[in-house]
Point group: C2
Chain length 105, copies 2
């Protein structure tokens, strides 16, 4: 299952490291503890709306932009983990197909 807080944490870490900034710097600017920010980045803690806003502000990135990036990344993951529909057997038959099943179709 796609877990929002993990994808969100990855995006926040990606933004911070692309700006070559430390956890210490961003956590101080956002007025959150360094340990808390680290837990959020690792997808271990769910930040409240207020704390997520403060972290985005510290990263000079609009909250909207972070949400749209996370939504786009989750869309790709949803596609990758979507269950294969049953009728795909008809178009891509298994190499070891049982002849009696084919005959019955």
């Amino acid at each position: 299952m796609v877990v929002l807080r993990r994808v969100l944490g990855d995006e926040l870490r990606r933004l911070r490291t692309s700006q070559k900034r430390t956890l210490r710097d961003v956590s101080a600017t956002a007025r959150v503890s360094l340990g808390y920010l680290s837990e959020v980045e690792r997808g271990h803690k769910e930040p409240s709306s207020e704390l997520l806003s403060a972290i985005c502000q510290a990263l000079d990135t609009p909250l909207s932009s972070v949400l749209i990036s996370v939504g786009t990344e989750i869309a790709a993951l949803e596609k990758a983990t979507a269950p294969v529909p049953l009728h795909s057997r008809e178009t891509t038959p298994a190499v070891t197909s049982a002849p009696e099943v084919v005959a019955a179709a």
Copy 2:
């Protein structure tokens, strides 16, 4: 300040009512309590990643689609509530502008 959980709650309520479904129906499908779903829709509670996924699934809507809608709505709100830059005084001077300030510029 734009509060994520309020915009998210509005979006979840909009989806549910557009499907003409009740809180009772969606909360039962998502296996969350009716009171909890109502609090989430009103922006009073922050749903965890798992509960948000369950609510989206109950609404037959991908989490990614909800996040992108919420991000887009927040982008419009950020634009509407953005502070007016200082240099806009030059193009739209106040009616009661102080002459000495203008002279100093």
